[in-house]
């Protein structure tokens, strides 16, 4: 098989070198006699559930306004899911809004919206339920009240869905260093903490800005915030995960250096009491315990968590985003950063340390580093020599205490790949991370959020950010980029985020955040959509992975009729012509293309090898 592929590449390269690039006719005679292969269409169904700036949310009495209705906030990020065990409904969906808005009726700051969903027993589609909350609010979408419960919230980015019982925490992004950083909010008075968390928190008066940047638990059933988790530290949180013991919480901070922290509750399910630790890979205590405790009863420690973590010699990461766990192991996305500068150097000066997961990405990009001793490579990272464009997904195994690289972003080519081999799949700046179990099989769901467009994070000649959603079969050992299956591309310019599956493995909820304004309504707003049918689709995904590349057999094109993705049995240079023979699409070196932008009708596919197929777009 490998050989056949190599041969194909050779043949294609030969075309490219000789005439393949000269050029598809601008228009052609349509008197062709094409063959049509019909294969079944995709079983996946798309549904738009919640549109920012368009759907109306029910509000509480805030800033002197009566309870009422307002247009929902935009900038959807994290999605939490809380199953409903008491009715036939599926459960509650919680959506973060990652944007500071000054707004009279729905509270300054980012915020959240919650709604309840059920599944149509016949079609499997998602239905949004009408609800009446105990505070009297009635409707479909509810604004989560932070202002009157725990104080204004920051930009709500990531969060935690407890896989144990569906409890939800939201993370407050954009670290604030002074009240000047909240100057757009109406209230900058000192804040008095009221909390049931033991320690010197309750009754303490802090600066207003210091009441931002916590993990905050909310109640999706009542659309109210419950508690800012002062005992987990004030950190630029993005994600976390709760283990099956309902006691252990792992947390990640989105900063450089960012720390990997662990909280262990005294009693399962009660997260007000427990101990907090920062990860330190080189902790010398025996047996090897890579965790150093930070006293979390001290308000001062919690307000200055990063300083304490550095002083404790904590291991430094480069922007940790989401965390998830499966089979006892913890996975976290380290999204990376263009240009580390002196951040690690300063961190080391304050006591921080770097671990060895850097060796692989550095050596794969810098051939001269391959034979250098490990410490020299780490020194190179320390002095900012490594531009971490693509990021990676890390794995933490509590059994060994080690953080290792699960999947590196990229790929990065040191030599020009052949045109046909140019990567169809490219993973950059992984952000949202979850595990979806479909028919008993675990898949990692990975959301991209590009930090930029340079260095191949978008195709050459295209300058708009386009973020993708990937599935990865977790049974694959030592996975690589080519093992990823792209399952959804959000509208142009958007960040795909929040991907969260229903426990039955049938539906994936996804957010498309701050999309380009160039998309049609509702795709020009931040929106939450549902992709249903995974239980049927997953076998289809596996089949597709196994399509054999063979230059000897005739070209196969499927499905046909096609609505969205058209696949080929080999890598093609081809053009699509409409019925009047006018060329409307040209693509090179592709094994699948998106045709959802074509108006339904008949078309012709003309390959550089002269094959012609009739296409039906439906």
């Amino acid at each position: 098989m490998k050989k056949a592929y190599a041969m194909l590449i050779f043949v294609l390269t030969f075309y490219v070198n000789s005439y393949g690039q000269y050029f598809f006719d601008v228009s052609v005679d349509t008197a062709w006699t094409p063959t049509t292969v019909v294969l079944p269409p995709s079983p996946l169904k798309f549904q738009v559930l919640f549109v920012g700036g368009s759907d109306k949310v029910q509000t509480t009495a805030t800033y002197g306004n009566e309870p009422g209705e307002a247009l929902a906030k935009q900038w959807h990020d994290f999605i939490g899911f809380t199953p409903d065990d008491e009715s036939d409904d599926l459960g509650w969906v919680s959506v973060n809004h990652e944007r500071i808005n000054s707004n009279d009726s729905i509270g300054d700051g980012g915020g959240m919206t919650v709604f309840k969903v059920a599944r149509d027993p016949v079609t499997d589609e998602i239905i949004i339920k009408e609800q009446t909350l105990s505070d009297g609010r009635q409707g479909k979408f509810f604004n989560v009240d932070f202002v009157n419960t725990v104080g204004e919230t920051g930009m709500n980015c990531g969060g935690i869905t407890s896989l144990v019982d569906g409890r939800i925490w939201t993370a407050e992004e954009w670290f604030r260093n002074s009240n000047d950083d909240i100057s757009s909010l109406r209230n900058q008075d000192p804040f008095t903490i009221i909390t049931d968390i033991p320690g010197d928190f309750n009754g303490s008066v802090i600066e207003r800005y210091q009441n931002f940047n916590y993990m905050v638990e909310i109640d999706p059933r009542e659309a109210k915030a419950i508690r800012k988790q002062y005992n987990w530290g004030r950190q630029p949180f993005e994600g976390g995960t709760i283990m099956s013991d309902n006691q252990t919480v792992y947390l990640g901070a989105d900063a450089t250096p960012g720390f990997f922290t662990k909280f262990i509750a005294e009693t399962p399910g009660d997260f007000t009491k427990g101990k907090l630790y920062v990860y330190k890979h080189d902790a010398l205590t025996a047996p090897i315990d890579p965790w150093v405790e930070i006293d979390n009863k001290s308000l001062d420690n919690m307000l200055h968590f990063a300083e304490r973590a550095l002083a404790a010699g904590g291991t430094m990461f480069n922007r940790l985003e989401w965390l998830t766990n499966y089979d006892g192991k913890i996975y976290m996305s380290e999204t990376g950063r263009d240009g580390l500068g002196t951040r690690f150097e300063r961190g080391i000066a304050a006591g921080g340390v770097l671990d060895y997961h850097w060796l692989e990405p550095v050596r794969s990009r810098f051939p001269q580093m391959v034979d250098k001793p490990d410490d020299q490579v780490i020194e190179f990272v320390k002095r900012g020599g490594f531009n971490d464009y693509y990021g990676r997904i890390l794995e933490f195994d509590p059994a060994t205490g080690l953080v290792t690289t699960f999947l590196n972003g990229g790929p990065f080519f040191s030599e020009s790949p052949e045109f046909a081999q140019y990567p169809e799949k490219h993973l950059s700046n992984p952000d949202g991370l979850n595990v979806m179990v479909i028919d008993g099989k675990p898949f990692m769901v990975i959301c991209e959020d590009l930090n930029g467009t340079s260095n191949g994070r978008v195709p050459a000649g295209l300058r708009n950010r386009s973020c993708e959603l990937y599935l990865l079969d977790m049974s694959i050992e030592d996975p690589a980029i080519e093992d990823l299956t792209r399952i959804s591309v959000t509208p142009v310019g958007a960040e795909v985020t929040g991907a969260q599956a229903t426990p039955d493995g049938k539906t994936l909820f996804v957010n498309s955040q701050h999309p380009s304004t160039a998309n049609p309504f509702p795709y020009n707003n931040s929106l939450t959509y549902a992709i249903t049918g995974w239980d049927i689709a997953v076998s289809a995904i596996e089949d597709i992975e196994e399509v054999v590349l063979d230059e000897k057999t005739a070209l196969k094109v499927w499905p046909n009729p096609v609505a969205k993705e058209l696949k080929f049995s080999r890598v093609l240079d081809a053009a699509i012509y409409n019925q009047s023979g006018q060329r409307i699409k040209v693509f090179r070196g592709q094994q699948s293309i998106d045709v959802s932008d074509l108006t339904p009708g008949f078309y012709f596919l003309n390959t550089s090898a002269g094959e012609v197929q009739r296409l039906i777009i439906k």
Binding site: V16, N17, S18, Y19, Q21, Y22, F23, S54, K56, E69, A70, L71, D104, W174, F175, D180, S183, S184, P236, D254, R337, D338, G339, R365, G385, N387, F412, F413, S414, E415, S416, P417, F419, L450, N451, G452, T453, S454, N455, G456, A460, G461, R463, N464, H514, S516, T517, A518, P520, P522, N525, A575, K585, V586, R588, D594, S596, D597, G610, E611
Partner: protein, 654 residues
């Protein structure tokens, strides 16, 4: 099938042999396609650039405190620039973000993109190096120079690795060439990326020559069928290079002649060549629904359709129609949108004043004082990626929102406004007819915003006497205006921030990004003691841009229609264009002796003569085009059950 393909293949090989053997300066072996040949040339150019960085590094390391050593350093830097200009068109085309961040970005601090908290980056690359190497005392800056050259060398590693990994497609070569023409004209010969030297024209010559070289391998392929076009293209390229070489002086270089005689003709000819060869454009390789900012099929930099307004808006071209614009226009002039039923959008944006209001700052609700800033023109306002003087909003649709909620402006909310509009059966019917898909709830944020933005989009115009002259539609343009244009794009430095063709801060050649500048605008006019205006602008705009580098930073607005929009600047401090020119001529706030820490305008006087100042004003005054924009609705929809509302005045009472 297989057999016929083989025959075809042989024929093509044969054809290729004939073509290439008759063309001496092209690819040397028949196995090479033009694309591969150009690629190999590009890779060679990248290596030359790397060597030039390396040479500069060696010289910078051993820099001594004497004139000869400094001259050597400057020579080495000039060689580096030359080697970069040879590859700039590809480097920028393939990875503009990397180039801006590390290779040839402005010598200014910037904010890190997508960072998790505020993070200010120091400038890197050749322009900040140029400031030091051509600065007062390069020897004193030796350490800084060495550090920057070292960083450039490190970044070159990433640059080379990525750029060489790109497989060349034919369309890239044509697209890169045409975008380079925009770059040469708007950023090159204006001196945008040569902050200290007068090498801009010389560098433009190298750029033009390199683009020509990259296109040469394609010429034989088109010659057979399109000989006159190919000959014209060759002649114009040669002419352009000669013209640049013979007119190297920055101050006297005639930009108008360069634009009309070379840039615009070539911009069209390269497109013609591409289309005649059947090489696809980005319309065929991107999704058909994708909105591109630059209309690739436009043949002139000042073509009315060069920029695609829909790129900047939520509405799509297929959604836009006269009915939508008419509805939007009526909403724009209807004071019922405001909480008091007395103010409309037109209260501060009046058609006869270029959609401004003639006030220093617009009047606030209930005539109690003013709002914070001067009302900007709405003509061509769609061509921006951020709105308001402080750039706090990213979409025009959300710009409107701030007016609706602001207590000093409309003092209402979306839902209140929609509820009120729903009281008018006439409005409901009208919305339903324009938006048949929204039968159940025709008046909502999406439909409302679509109508308003469609109207704002209709306020676009690039058809002033100046544009007509540039496009060759008329031969008449006063000499003073032409001089003024040459000053604007050259000696006076206006064009390095007010970019062609919008003459606003919308950055060429992709026109994706709006810029703001720190000018040090004063509180009072130039007759008074200079005091900086206390408005901190962008610093208090978007929370994520709360950085000291944006203190007193304001959006670079368009110069088009400026003769209609007095008074000027965010605070309306200057009554006349003459005053504005005077302010710039003196070097802004810093030039007036104020301490403006992050001023982006050079503090040095421009040393413009009185005549030059007059010509500059003459040029700006001619940039007027309000064709078909001043129509006002003749009546407003009726509120059947609220007769008091039917007394409201078109445009409101403000």
């Amino acid at each position: 099938m297989k057999q016929s393909y083989l025959i075809l293949f042989s024929i093509l090989i044969f054809l290729a042999c004939i073509l290439f053997s008759s063309f001496s300066s092209g690819p040397e072996t028949i196995a090479d396609s033009p694309g591969n040949y150009v690629k190999s040339q590009y890779h060679a150019g990248i290596s030359d650039f790397g060597r030039a960085i390396h040479n500069l590094e060696i010289i910078a390391l051993s820099l001594d405190d004497n004139t000869a050593a400094v001259t050597d350093l400057q020579k080495s830097f000039d060689q580096l620039r030359v080697s970069y200009k040879k590859i700039e068109f590809f480097a920028e085309y393939f990875d503009p973000e990397f180039i801006k961040d590390y290779i040839n970005g402005p010598p200014l601090k910037s904010l890190e993109r997508k960072s998790p908290s505020l993070s200010i980056l120091e400038p890197e690359g050749m322009q900040v190096l140029e400031e030091l190497i051509y600065g007062e005392d390069p020897y004193r800056e030796k350490a800084a120079i060495n550090k920057l050259v070292q960083a450039l060398n490190d970044n070159f590693h990433y640059f080379k690795t990525y750029q060489q990994s790109i497989e060349m497609a034919d369309r890239y070569i044509f697209e890169a060439s045409r975008f380079q023409l925009i770059r040469v004209f708007s950023l090159g010969v204006t001196g945008f990326d040569t902050p200290m030297t007068d090498n801009a024209i010389k560098e433009a010559s190298i750029s033009m020559q390199s683009v020509f070289e990259a296109l040469k391998p394609y010429l034989p392929l088109a010659k057979k069928k399109h000989s006159p076009m190919v000959e014209k293209l060759e002649k114009t390229f040669r002419g352009a290079v000669t013209y640049l070489n013979e007119n190297e002086d920055f101050e006297t270089f005639d930009r108008m002649e360069f634009l009309k005689g070379y840039i615009n003709p070539l911009y069209r000819l390269i497109l013609d060549l591409q289309l005649s060869l059947g090489i696809e454009t980005y319309y065929e390789t991107a999704p058909l629904t994708f909105k591109h900012s630059v209309n690739y099929l436009a043949g002139n930099l000042f073509d009315e359709s060069l920029l695609n307004p829909y790129y900047y808006l939520k509405i799509r071209k297929i959604d836009d129609n006269k009915a939508l614009v008419d509805l939007g226009r009526t909403l724009f002039f209807d004071p019922v949108l405001s909480g008091s039923n007395e103010r409309s959008c037109a209260s501060c944006h009046q058609p006869d004043k270029g959609f401004t209001d003639g006030n220093k700052k617009s009047i606030a609700m209930d005539f109690k004082g003013t709002v914070d800033r001067n009302a900007p023109t709405l003509i061509n306002a769609v061509y921006a990626d951020k709105y308001f003087y402080d750039l706090r909003v990213g979409e025009m649709e959300n710009q409107i929102e701030h007016v609706i909620f602001d207590k000093r402006e409309f003092h209402t909310s979306y839902l209140q406004m929609f509820e009120k509009l729903e009281q008018s059966e006439e409005y409901v019917t009208w919305f339903k007819s324009v938006f048949p898909d929204w039968e159940h709830e025709p008046i909502n944020k999406n439909t409302f915003s679509a109508a308003i933005t469609a109207y704002l989009k209709s306020l676009s115009g690039f058809n002033s006497p100046f544009d007509q002259y540039v496009r060759g539609e008329t031969d008449e343009l006063p000499e003073a205006v032409i001089n003024g244009f040459n000053l604007f794009m050259g000696k006076a430095g206006c064009g390095t921030c007010h970019f062609a063709p919008t003459f606003s801060g919308l950055v060429p050649p992709l026109y994706h990004e709006s810029e703001s500048e720190v000018l040090g605008v004063t509180l009072h006019n130039l007759d008074s003691m200079p005091v900086i205006d206390p408005d901190v602008g962008r610093y208090k705009g978007n929370l994520k841009e709360h950085a000291n580098i944006y203190k007193h930073s304001f959006k670079t607005t368009t110069v088009r229609n400026v003769s209609l929009t007095a008074p000027y600047m965010h605070n309306g401090v200057f009554e006349t264009l003459e005053e504005v020119v005077e302010f710039y001529d003196r070097g802004g706030g810093q030039g007036l002796g104020l301490d403006v820490e992050f001023q982006t305008l050079p503090p040095d006087p421009l040393e413009l003569t009185d005549l030059e100042k007059q010509h500059l004003v003459k040029f700006m005054e001619v940039l007027v085009d309000t064709t078909a924009m001043t129509t006002q609705p003749v009546r407003l929809p009726v509120f059947e059950n609220q007769p008091e509302l039917n007394q409201r005045i078109i445009g409101g009472i403000y």
